[in-house]
């Protein structure tokens, strides 16, 4: 939490100064103050601390879980970074090894030669999905799902996020995607749905039981008027309140660019027949991609 607060000020170009032990002060301008505290606020010296006692003694804003100041900072941060992009630089990969791997695969029934070699970038869509399991209570969780935009499939292995560097890739080097963003999102949601289905469903069961009980009471109350509009409305309200539901929403997304090694090959069959092939290799997904039409 403390790192997050300091990183926030750093990204805003501000440097908090520790004026007393555990109490920091930072000069916040009008614009940021309005973002933090509403349109009536004006720029001021903002003092903050993470310690309850210091907050009481020095009157500094307390930053702790649930506090107003932490929430106001979180709200501002969460409005940012809706969309971003990053790439994995080429230097993380050893091209001769990849070439060797490609040749080994293509020449499994004969021999293969590399006649041309180029570089492209594959696109992945990284989505931060908020899943709300709404039963008798609401339970929220955040999931990062990466979708390969070449195929629309979910990247199920650990994505090497540590290799990512800010920024995108040159447009002409980007391999056109085969999957629409919308489809990628739907696939990601379906994947999350599957994940939930494999987990403990106690929350849904509990809600179903409560719903059934309440429906019974409602049924008794409306006995003789079960076809009435009022009954239907009340039943709908009951379902809205108690029926278990999994709600998935996207919070933010990023386009990730991954180097794609593209080779023009000549493959010689055991009979001596030569054929030309183009093949692209995605080292992150460990996939051989066919050429696009």
């Amino acid at each position: 939490m403390q790192h997050l607060v300091f990183d926030f000020f750093k990204l805003c170009g501000l440097k908090p100064l520790e004026i007393r032990k555990g109490v920091w002060q930072v000069k916040v301008d009008d614009a940021l103050m309005k973002e933090l505290d509403g349109w009536r606020s004006q720029g001021r010296l903002l003092q903050f601390t993470f310690d309850q006692r210091s907050a009481e003694i020095y009157g500094a804003d307390l930053i702790c879980p649930g506090s107003y100041r932490l929430n106001s900072i979180l709200q501002v941060i969460r409005k940012q970074g809706i969309l971003s992009h990053a790439h994995i630089p080429l230097h993380h990969f050893h091209e001769p090894s990849i070439r060797k791997k490609i040749l080994a695969k293509s020449g499994s029934t004969g021999r293969a030669y590399v006649v041309s070699c180029s570089l492209q970038f594959a696109q992945y869509l990284q989505l931060e999905l908020l899943a709300e399991a709404r039963g008798l209570q609401k339970k929220e969780s955040i999931h990062t799902v990466v979708v390969d935009l070449s195929t629309g499939s979910i990247f199920k292995y650990a994505f090497p996020f540590h290799l990512l560097e800010p920024g995108g890739a040159a447009q002409h080097k980007v391999r056109p995607r085969k999957c629409s963003y919308k489809q990628a999102f739907i696939n990601a949601a379906a994947y999350l749905h599957e994940l939930f289905a494999q987990q403990d469903q106690g929350w849904a069961k509990e809600a179903q039981e409560k719903l059934a009980m309440e429906e019974g009471k409602l049924h008794e109350f409306f006995k003789g008027r079960l076809g009435s509009e009022e009954y239907e409305i009340k039943k709908k309200e009951l379902h809205k309140r108690l029926a278990p539901a999994l709600r998935i929403n996207a919070l933010r997304g990023a386009i990730l660019f991954v180097p794609l090694f593209r080779y023009g090959l000549v493959v010689v069959s055991p009979g001596g027949k030569e054929t030309s092939r183009l093949i692209s290799y995605d080292p992150i997904g460990n996939m051989y991609l066919p050429e696009l039409d």
Partner: protein, 592 residues
């Protein structure tokens, strides 16, 4: 949305439901994939609006932290509002926090908050609302209150919960404001009602919900038809006359909780005021109703100490009082109790200051008959000539005796307020004025000045509504309102949750005037200053007077000239009140 994503059904895509609960007959769970967040991402993508990777990463960490915070089963609002409560001097009581927890975690937001008066039902409702807002469970909220409480709700929500609701003014407001406060009487009328019924509300809050006890009223049917996910109903008197009222109220928030009316009647009603199986009924009520009572476990109120200050009028003042009274009686007899309101005002003003009386009389001159005009003109002239005011003399002496205590002086009339200030300033006291004409900002400012610098605040009642002055513990009633409800509102500004000292109430009563009768009724007969705190609204509602309290008194006063007769009639009226009080008290039926 559909243009943007032709394949998306309205706002969301429904995915085939999963077999979630394999052991139950209806094992499905709805999966909703919302397009809202994704639409934002796509919007940025189309415009190639990429944020830096650092902001993106920080935002992801903020998301995680936010979610972690929200997983707690503790109330988020407590920590969130800590600073605000410190500034506003709010200290939530344990019973209020517990109520909010119960409503949110055990009752799924469907509850009747039936605390006894003065225990802070509004704070409980505000806390629940704030908690739901922080947890992202409600967005569209409608608060229905009696018209005179609109601003009070606004202030409570804004000052104590950092919520800025709208107050309904026009028919466009229903859709415009996410959190809207409106009068129930307005809301149930067309064209408003049909608009409201089209809106699915996340939370509906109804203050003074006992007004919906009768299921055949328009108000009841309207509230029943409002689409709502969560519903809070606030009332101190969930039952007034009949157990059916309770059944009706519960039917609004959770129909079926008490079964059908027939089964409820056979299981739980012995007669309309006596429950059968009270233990079982109590358990069922406990699932939808929270009732905190005034005891050691909730909160202890300080004492109210009443000091009558009897003021003798000078012979000249007494003579003028008698002449005004005669004039009022004469007018009352002629008009046959029609248009009685100006006469009530005049009779009350003459016990306050002659300045206020003169101003009203001057206004009345235009509408009175020729033969009375002469008398009125003479009266007006004599009223203007009086230079002395014995009540103000007594007030000055009283203030001198009270030392440095902060004092609120209440009067009903603006003219009296100005005169009191003139006299006190002349005597060397600095005063602040508070009245209904001040803007909200000015009222807050005056309150701030009074709290930090001033000693004396001279207030008309309208000015006092919606603001609390717990930091002061001395009230002077310069004149007495005839309606006990108004008197209670005055005292309630000071004697409420948060008051740590006993409250001293000084009543200035002019001898040999109608005020003596009023104080007899309110203080000696029904002892409203000390013993019926919090029950008054219920008693008045129960009495069902048919006309205002003031009109009842005025009728008695106009009908009789002999003091004994007036006293006798007031006694009868007081007895009715006491009987009503007893009935309201027994109506609690040990159910809660």
């Amino acid at each position: 949305m559909s243009q943007f994503f032709p394949g998306f059904a309205k706002n969301q895509i429904k995915i085939e439901s999963l077999d979630l609960l394999q052991e139950t007959p209806s094992p499905n769970c709805t999966v909703e994939v919302l397009a809202t967040g994704f639409k934002r991402i796509i919007g940025d993508l189309r415009q190639k609006r990429f944020d830096t990777w650092d902001w993106y990463s920080l935002a992801r960490r903020a998301d995680e932290l936010m979610i972690t915070q929200q997983q707690t089963t503790e109330l988020l609002a407590i920590e969130y509002l800590k600073e605000r409560w410190k500034q506003a001097g709010v200290v939530p009581y344990p019973h209020q926090l517990e109520t909010a927890r119960r409503v949110i975690f055990d009752m799924q937001g469907q509850a009747i908050l039936a605390d006894e008066v003065g225990l802070g039902k509004t704070i409980e409702a505000g806390l629940i609302l704030k908690e739901y807002l922080l947890r992202g469970l409600v967005k569209k909220v409608l608060i229905l209150t009696p018209a005179n409480l609109l601003w009070q709700w606004y202030h409570e929500l804004y000052e104590k919960f950092d919520i800025t609701p709208g107050i309904q003014r026009t028919e466009w407001d229903w859709n415009f404001s996410d959190i809207l406060i409106a009068s129930l009487d307005t809301a149930k009328r067309e064209p408003h009602a049909s608009q409201i019924l089209d809106i699915p509300y996340d939370l509906l809050i109804i203050d003074e919900a006992h007004k919906l006890k009768n299921s055949s009223t328009v108000g009841y049917r309207f509230v029943n038809a409002v689409q709502k996910k969560y519903c809070l109903m606030l009332t101190a008197t969930p039952i007034q006359n009949d157990l059916k009222e309770l059944y009706n109220l519960i039917g609004l928030i959770k129909p079926g909780q008490l079964g059908s009316y027939r089964s409820f009647k056979s299981r739980f009603i012995k007669d309309k005021r006596t429950p059968k199986n009270p233990q079982e009924l109590r358990e069922l009520l406990g699932q939808v109703m929270v009732r905190n009572r005034r005891d050691e476990k909730t909160v202890q109120f300080t004492e109210r100490i009443v000091h009558p200050v009897v003021v003798s009028l000078t012979p000249k003042e007494q003579e003028l009082y008698n002449r005004v009274t005669r004039f009022v009686r004469e007018r009352g007899r002629r008009s046959g109790l029609q248009n009685i309101l100006p006469l009530i005002t005049l009779q009350r003003e003459v016990c306050s200051t002659f300045l206020a009386t003169a101003l009203t009389l001057e206004k009345m001159m235009e509408s009175i008959e020729q033969d009375q005009q002469m008398e009125a003109a003479e009266l007006l002239k004599d009223l203007a000539d009086v230079k002395q005011n014995s009540k103000c003399d007594a007030l000055e002496r009283l203030i001198g005796e009270l030392g440095d205590n902060k004092i609120i002086i209440f009067t009903e009339y603006k003219a009296s307020q100005e005169y009191i200030r003139y006299r006190l300033e002349k005597a060397g006291y600095s005063t602040l004025a508070f009245d209904g004409t001040l803007s909200r900002g000015k009222k807050q400012w005056i309150r701030h000045l009074f709290q930090n610098q001033g000693q004396i605040l001279v207030s008309t009642e309208s000015g006092g509504e919606g603001l609390n002055f717990q930091f002061c513990s001395v009230i002077v009633n310069f004149d007495l309102p005839w309606n006990p409800m108004r008197l209670e509102q005055r005292i309630g500004r000071v004697h409420r949750l948060g008051q740590s000292r006993d409250v001293h109430i000084f009543n200035l009563i002019t001898k040999d005037t109608i005020e003596e009768h009023i104080i007899y009724l309110l203080h000696q007969k029904i002892n409203m200053f000390e013993t019926i705190i919090g029950e008054l609204d219920a008693i008045l509602l129960h009495l069902n007077l048919g006309k205002s309290f003031e009109s009842e008194i005025m009728e008695i006063f106009l009908a009789h000239e002999e003091q004994e007769k007036i006293r006798e009639r007031l006694d009868q009226f007081g007895d009715r009140f006491i009987k009503g009080q007893a009935e309201v008290r027994t109506a609690k039926w040990e159910l809660f």
